[in-house]
Every structure is written in C-alpha cells, then in structure tokens.
Symmetry: C2
Subunit: 348 residues, 2 copies
C-alpha cells in the first residue's frame, strides 16, 4: 500500500450521504451493518468477519497477544495506524517464536471522523494482513462522541501457533549470549515526529513498520537456540534491553559504536533533545543467541529483507546483573537507563 493509494481511496458507497462517522454507526443496527458491509469488508479484501470466529488449530501451544494503537497522526511517512496495528501484533506473536495466524480488529471511531479516512485505514489493515500472511477473522466497531476520541483508535489481538521445542522468553537471556539487532534504530519514532512537529529533513524519514514473522522463521530455521526476541517499540532499545536484563538478572554490555543509528535519526534526536535509544521502532528486533551461534544467525538475518541491516551490538555479561551499560568509543562506559516516562507520546 503506497501513500498514493491512501490519497486516492474513497468510500465504495456513499453511506446514507454522510461523509463522516455518526453515533449511529456504533449502534449495532442497520448503520453498523452498512459500515461493515460497504466499507470494512471491501477494504479488507475477500474475507469473512464474525462476532466469534471458529477456527481450526493443531494440538500444542498457541501464542496470544493484544495491543491498542493510538498513534498521532494516523497517517505518517511510510505507514498508518492500520499497518502499525497489524505489524505490531504480528510482531508480538513472532517474538515468542509463534507463527501468526489470526487477527481480530476493533475500531473506536470518533464521531465526525471522515469515512474516507476510516476506509484508508481499513485498506491499510487489509493489505498489511495479506503481506504478513495473517487472516482478519473477527471485529468490532464502537463510536464515541466528538471530543471523546481522536479520529481512530484500533485494537488488534492475534493468535499464532508455537512450534514444538521453541521456547523464547526474556528469562532465557544468559551470560555469554550475543545481542543482535536486525537493522537501523529510531526510524519509526522520528518519522511520526517529523510530521507531528513539521520537521523537514534532507531525505524523508519513513517509518520502518513491517512484519517480522518471516525473519524470525528464517532465524529459527538455522536450528540455533534463540533465547530471547524482542521488538523495541515504545521506550525503544533502552527499555527493551533494561527489561530483559532485569527479568533474566544478567548484565548487558553494548558497544556504542555498533548501534546502527541513521544520520537523519541522530540529527532529529539531537535537535529535539531525544535519546535515539529511547525512540520507538516498529520493524526491528533484538535477538539474544549463544555466542557460538551468532554468526550463523546473523547470516540468516542478513539474507532476509527484514534483516538486511543486522548487526551484533553487544553481549550478556555476568557483571552488573540487571543493568545495561554502553562501552563508548573512548573505552569508557555509561549506564543506559530504563526510560521513566514518555518522551514521545502516542507514537504507536
């Protein structure tokens, strides 16, 4: 889905001649039905949605995840709240080693939101689901009065199946693990912020929103014993590394120089007083693997489009358990703290 498609997409039918969401669209009656029939379903593609979808699964373990999305603005360079809602939940599933299968999608619409905007978001959702290989199977739409929302809020929940023998969890991080990242960091946050603040860069920074399940499959196909996977979204790389260090009670040491921060991201962050390590990513993952298997996993990552920029950024160490430390270019160290509050509100 390109930006051009968003621009040109219009509602397939004039829904009772209203160009905008009205309270009646949330009533569970005829208008609700029309919204699903004439807007959501055509936008999603050829699918069926039911209140409660009945789905086949194999015996074994499933992964189950949920996220709400409140990103502002709803459209930004490289994506929209629709893509984000699919990729974010697909990625949460993938981070537990699961193959994502099914998604639910629930809209909270603010009265007065243009139906063309709702439609573009729904179309982005459908396209992202197709790209990620997941099926939208159940949905819900609520409408809140003008001034009690902000355009469109989304929730997606997802179900995947976890292959036998796969156990990926933050508790498994261990001294000696190599820490890998799949590519450049800070891109999503800066892309959203650039439109929000009206910043101009020499080249447009586009969100990295992307599904990561394929990359994870490729990594697991090496047979390596992947200990931890994490997509560093809200709170960025700093929050993810700190959470893992605390949960597993290991020390983490990263090499500052090895952190792949694009120049535009570094510039924007220094302009705005942000720490790029705390900026959200929406298409990157951190992986903790035994050092002996790191090269093999890195090679598999680099061979996949979503991991072309993969790097090793650090190591788990027995020293300073629960703490994340960066080794600077001059050979010194500094602590990377857990972010406290919110430097970039409503980034996802």
């Amino acid at each position: 889905m390109t930006d051009l498609d968003f621009e040109n997409w219009t509602c397939p039918v004039p829904l009772r001649d209203t160009p905008a969401v009205v309270m009646g669209h949330g009533g569970g009656g005829a208008m609700s039905g029309e919204l699903v029939q004439h807007l959501f379903l055509p936008a999603y593609g050829p699918i069926e949605l039911t209140d409660s979808a009945v789905l086949p699964v194999g015996a074994g373990r499933i992964a189950f995840s949920t996220d709400s999305y409140v990103v502002k603005p709803m459209f930004f360079p490289g994506g929209s709240i629709g893509d984000l809602a699919v990729n974010g939940t697909v990625n949460d599933l993938a981070m537990s080693g699961a193959t994502p299968l099914y998604l639910s999608v629930a809209f909270i619409l603010e009265e007065g939101t243009l139906l063309t905007e709702v439609g573009r978001i729904a179309k982005a959702l459908g396209a992202a689901a197709a790209a990620a290989g997941v099926r939208l199977v159940t949905g819900d739409t609520k409408v809140v009065d003008n001034g009690s929302g902000d355009g469109v809020y989304l929730n997606t929940s997802g179900i995947g199946t976890v292959p036998d023998g796969v156990t990926i969890a933050p508790t498994r991080a261990a001294a000696g693990d190599a820490i890998l990242i799949s590519g450049d960091i800070g891109v999503h946050g800066v892309a959203v912020l650039s439109v929000r603040q009206g910043l101009e860069f020499e080249t447009t920074v586009r969100s990295d929103t992307a599904p990561l399940a394929g990359l994870v499959s490729a990594m697991l196909a090496t047979g390596a014993d992947v200990h931890v996977l994490r997509d560093p979204t809200r709170g960025g790389v700093a929050a993810s590394l700190n959470e893992i260090a605390r949960t597993a009670q290991v020390g983490i040491e990263v090499t500052e120089r090895s952190l792949p921060i694009p120049a535009e991201v570094a510039d924007a962050c220094s302009l705005l007083g942000l720490d790029p390590l705390q900026v959200a990513n929406e298409g990157k993952l951190l992986a903790f693997v035994p050092a002996a298997q790191a090269d093999e996993v890195l090679a598999a990552m680099r061979a996949h489009p979503a991991g072309a920029g993969a790097h090793r950024i650090g190591t788990c160490v027995p020293a300073h358990p629960g703490m994340v430390v960066a080794r600077t270019a001059l050979g010194g160290t500094r602590v990377i703290n857990m972010p406290i509050g919110e430097q970039l509100p409503r980034i996802c």
Copy 2:
C-alpha cells in the same frame, strides 16, 4: 464485586505521588511498568501477564472474539466497564458454543483519569474473570492526552475451545425452530441510562451483566441440537432477531405478550421514547432450537441461575423470510424492524 468494594478500593501504592494518569504511564518505560506491577496485577489477583502469552490448547477448533467497551458512565448500578468487558467477550465466545478460556485486556486511558478509578475497573475485571472461569493472560496500556478520550476505554479479546460436534451459527435457524430467551429484557440499557439521565425509579434497575457460558453448557448438556445462540446486546432483541432472520432467510414470529419486559424497563422506555426491544442486554441470550427439544432446553435453562426467567417467545416460520413480526395481544401483527442508528449511544 459489590458497589461497596468499588467505593472503598484505593491504589495499593501512591504511584510517584500522582493521583491521576499521566502520559508517562503509556511510555513503555518505568512508569508503565509500575502501573502494571502496583495497580493492574494486584487488582487482577495472582496472575501473570505477558506481551505474548504462550498457552496450551487441545487439537480441534477454537473460538476467537473481540470487543471494545466505551460505556458511559464507567460505573453504573449493577456493574462497571470492567465487568462488562469480561462478560461481553465471554458471552460472544459462549454464543458459538465455546468454553471460554483466555482473555486479553487492553486499556486506553485518558490523561487525568484518577488512578483509583482505573484500579476499581481493574479489580472488577479480575473479579469478573474469576467468576466466569477465564484467565487474563496478556494486556496492553495506552494513554491519550486529556480531551482525546473519556476516562477508560477497554478492549478484551477472548479464546475458547469449541467441543466436537457443536455447530452453532445464525445460518442454522430453520422454520420450526422454537425461539427462547433466558430472562428479562432491556435491563442493562435502562440501568446505564438511569444514571446518565439522573432518572429515579421506585426500585433501582441494575444491569444484568453476567457471564453466560455456564448456562450454555447446561443447555448443550441436554444433548439438544441448539441451532443458534445470540446475546442481544447493542440494538437489543430487535437487532439480533433481524440479523438472524436475514442471515438464515427465515421468517420470525414472536408473541408480543410473551416478551419479558419488567415494569421498570417498560416505564423508563415509555418516558424516554425508547423501544425496549432495541435496548441492550448484557446477561441474556436468545436460543433457536428444534421445537421438539424446546421444553427440554427450557427446563435446563430454568434450572440454571442465569436462565431462571427463561421463556419461549416465538417461532421460526417459512413465511416472510428475512422479516421479524410480532403477534399482538389483539391477534394482529406488526413488523419489528432492524434498528437503524443508535437510540442509546455508548451503552457498552
């Protein structure tokens, strides 16, 4: 959970001395973690929540459902948005014949909402989940700026397992089916409206919010071939019956006199110009069963606390496919239309 508990419940810890939600609670950093650790988890009870929960399921079919909740006000006689969010999704699963197992819970908090209110809602969620026999397994919290929300919006998604041989779907409604209802109608909508409009009745009308999975189990245990189950929430009995009639292309005939509308509901509706058949219920179900098995199913319903007030209200007929008709006390008929928009916004 009684109203008294709501009133007396306070936050377990003063979270950084702020009595209200701030943007930082949504940042994915330390403050987000504190909210989960010190507020959500103690409120929910002894559970574990992860970004992506890995769960055992048997082979076979699962049911998957989602709903967002935006009810206003968040607390009303007989319940709160917390109970509603559990029971609503549990009931969607039960309506496909599934045994509900797991729930996700996602909050969208408006900046400035009192943490004690968030805590009371979380406590109601935990208590309702325990009462319904489902586990809260994964969650998410987002914060939106003041004026872009309205206190607390919730989403719950749910997973259940569908027993072999059970196929319950609106397409299965067939001429000859008896139509049963599990009890009084219109209660939830009038309960919410009474606080919203400051209405006073002789007796307080309390929401009927309740989980229905136990009732459904008892009905299925009779061995009857239950064709359709539906909980008449938004749009009420009128919307549910019309949807089923259209989907299955059968005619539906209900006996007006047999509709169990309590006097308080009838009074409130006539005062406010509402049709009680369009008012939301949150603890009732409609069942379509072969006429020959109706008595047996009704007996099982009446023997269960959630179905004590069960009645037969109508029949599926070959005439007027797709249309719902009421037979009046005088022997005439009137059409029960699909509600168009929204007579009671934000009722669930």
